[in-house]
């Protein structure tokens, strides 16, 4: 299959890293709680060491590598008749959505995305929801407009 042409904004990597950091901070609590109990009550020091190593691997994967990989693999394409989305690091998934199945489009922007001048576009069909995350603000707005002009749901097909 031909590779899709459009990519999402590279600033997505930074945003995803921040999200991962927040998640890992919560995980840190869990890790340290377990470590504390292991150290204090069970005296299993080697297990604690293993946990520390595990945490470091977890950290480097989810904060350093994963967002980069995810961004690299995120692609999409919008054409008059259909749109395509391709994503996924471990599981590569390519989805085709015929334009006349699109029911409505959402423009979404959380505080963090806003700070980075990014926005997500969410596409709804009668059966599924698809999100293109972290596009450049202006691009996202434009995309919403383009999709809604292309999308004219045929009444017969719902």
């Amino acid at each position: 299959m031909v590779q899709l042409s459009k990519r999402i904004s590279e600033r997505a990597v930074s945003v995803w890293r921040i999200y991962a950091l927040i998640r890992l901070a919560i995980f840190f609590l869990g890790y340290s709680l377990i470590s504390f109990f292991l150290w204090r009550f069970a005296d299993l020091k080697w297990l604690v060491l293993l946990l520390v190593v595990l945490y470091l691997i977890h950290f480097s994967l989810s904060v350093v590598l994963w967002p980069r990989w995810r961004w690299q693999r995120w692609r999409y394409d919008i054409r008059e008749k259909e749109m395509e989305v391709e994503c996924g690091v471990w599981t590569r998934r390519r989805t085709l959505i015929p334009m006349n199945r699109v029911q409505h489009v959402d423009f979404r922007q959380g505080p963090l995305l806003k700070k980075y001048r990014l926005a997500s576009v969410v596409i709804f069909t009668a059966a599924t929801v698809h999100e293109i995350p972290a596009l450049d603000e202006q691009e996202a707005e434009q995309l919403c407009h383009v999709i809604s002009t292309f999308a004219k749901v045929d009444d017969r097909d719902v």
Binding site: K81, E82, R92, R94, L96, P98, T128, V158
Partner: protein
């Protein structure tokens, strides 16, 4: 004609009965389990308050529910504290289902369920619990008139009147209900229910005593077998009863724009489905049914669950010979072609299919086998069975494209074949895990309804691409 009306007062009784039915088990538990220390509050006041509350609630819900049929729309107001108003234009109504339950029969009324083409599938439904037959007929006529006025000349006939039975496409034979109960696995469901019931009663029946008595009764293995046979017969009878209630007098009428399905023994149900809203057809067959050459046919219907089953799926034929199923579908939906020529999966997918059920079972079975040594080891033979099932599943799985039609088939215990048409598909995805990519395999997934995805795993890379480009 335009006045606000209330439902027939039998609604109060039926809603109270329904709530009591739901309350019965928790109340029973609460009262009887605490029976050791009898207290007035717990044993009498709590149930009394609960029952009284449901009666009040039933009455006021009925009192505050009004409906109004005018020329263009059906207006419903309801809500005891927060009033809700809903108006449903007749021309937007997509399906209507009538049912006559126990209470409805007592009062000589019918229940009307209405389904519209709302965006939120399965939610835009209105239920009129008890209206007179004349009113139901009137609603149906309004719908018909509104449809005729609109651009589409679609009529939604209400088959409530005894329609001439010349358009019957399918009816379930009485003896098939027994076969259906025997083969559908409902027996095992009933067995599970029976055992669950007895385990619930654990606190009341002292099994130790019972067991000692039983030992007196069951002197030899033959009696044990007999007891087992009796248990199975009871389970089978329960299953037959359940299926009889649900599927007795099951008939499908095929009209120009609609399908009318009527069924039920105690609770009569009649539902009208617009053919335009049918997104696809599924044929299901489990291992036993497959051996006998029987299938069940379901239609994927864009809309709420009119027949009270799982949303989006309506039973067209509960149990039918495969050949007959093909002709029924052809009669009702001529645009579909039910065939058996499926593109098989590549050979390199076979190992994956044979190993997949083994992965899932290996750990639990291994653990059980370990704890019940040495005889437990025999359980590991089940892994071979699972692997064989996986092999069968590999042989069955496949896809087929025929003009505008896509068919997907998969399943382990129950083979499911889905036929849909290109313009019904909402989105299509092709994906691959790292392992699949290494073997140049893909998973094909098609969405036709919310929460209804059909997948075929391990399709050849190039063939998956072929299906994908067919969609473009």
């Amino acid at each position: 004609m335009f006045e606000k009306k209330r439902l027939h007062p039998i609604t109060i009784v039926s809603s109270i009965a329904k709530q009591w039915k739901d309350l019965l088990l928790p109340l029973f538990m609460a009262v009887v389990l605490k029976a050791r220390d009898v207290s007035m509050i717990w044993n009498i006041a709590v149930p009394a308050v609960a029952l009284f509350y449901t009666m009040l609630a039933g009455f006021f819900t009925w009192l505050r529910f009004t409906y109004q049929i005018d020329d263009e729309e059906l207006r419903i107001e309801h809500g005891v504290f927060v009033r809700q108003k809903r108006s449903i234009p007749f021309e937007r109504i997509q399906g209507i289902s009538l049912s006559i339950g126990f209470f409805q029969r007592l009062a000589g009324v019918v229940q009307v369920r209405i389904e519209t083409a709302g965006n939120e599938l399965g939610k835009a439904e209105a239920v009129l619990t008890a209206v007179t037959k004349e009113e139901a007929e009137q609603i149906a006529q309004h719908i018909r008139r509104a449809k005729e006025k609109g651009d589409s000349a679609e009529a939604l006939p209400l088959a409530y009147r005894s329609t001439p039975p010349d358009d019957i496409a399918f009816s379930l034979r009485f003896r098939d209900v027994f076969l259906l109960s025997a083969t559908s696995g409902g027996v095992f469901g009933a067995l599970a229910a029976i055992s669950a019931f007895f385990s619930q009663l654990d606190d009341f029946i002292s099994y130790d005593v019972l067991y000692r008595d039983m030992q007196g009764v069951i002197r030899n293995a033959l009696d044990g077998v007999l007891a087992l046979v009796v248990l199975f017969l009871v389970a089978y009878a329960l299953s037959v009863g359940r299926h009889l209630l649900r599927y007795a007098f099951f008939t499908v009428q095929n009209q120009k724009e609609t399908i009318i399905i009527s069924r039920g023994l105690l609770e009569k149900q009649l539902l009208t489905v617009s053919k335009k809203r049918v997104q696809g057809i599924i044929m299901k067959e489990n291992v036993i049914q497959r051996l006998l050459g029987y299938v069940s046919v379901h239609i994927i219907h864009a809309g709420g669950s009119l027949d009270g089953g799982e949303s989006g799926s309506i039973v067209l034929c509960p149990f039918v010979k495969k050949k007959r199923a093909v002709s029924v579908i052809l009669a009702c939906f001529p645009e579909y072609c039910i065939h058996q020529h499926f593109q098989p999966l590549p050979e390199r997918a076979r190992v994956r299919y044979m190993l997949r059920p083994v992965y899932v079972l290996a750990i639990p079975l291994g653990a059980v086998a370990y704890f019940f040594r040495p005889w437990g080891i025999g359980l590991l033979l089940l892994l071979l069975v699972a692997s064989y099932l996986g092999y069968k599943s590999y042989q069955m799985a496949g896809w087929a494209i025929l003009g505008e039609q896509l068919a997907l088939r998969n399943g382990l215990f129950r083979i499911e074949t889905m036929y849909t048409r290109k313009h019904r598909i909402q989105s299509m995805a092709v994906f691959a895990t790292w392992f699949q990519k290494r073997k140049r395999l893909r998973t094909l997934s098609v969405a036709v309804m919310p929460r209804m995805f059909f997948k075929v795993t391990d399709v050849d890379e190039n063939e998956a691409e072929k299906v994908y480009t067919w969609m473009q």
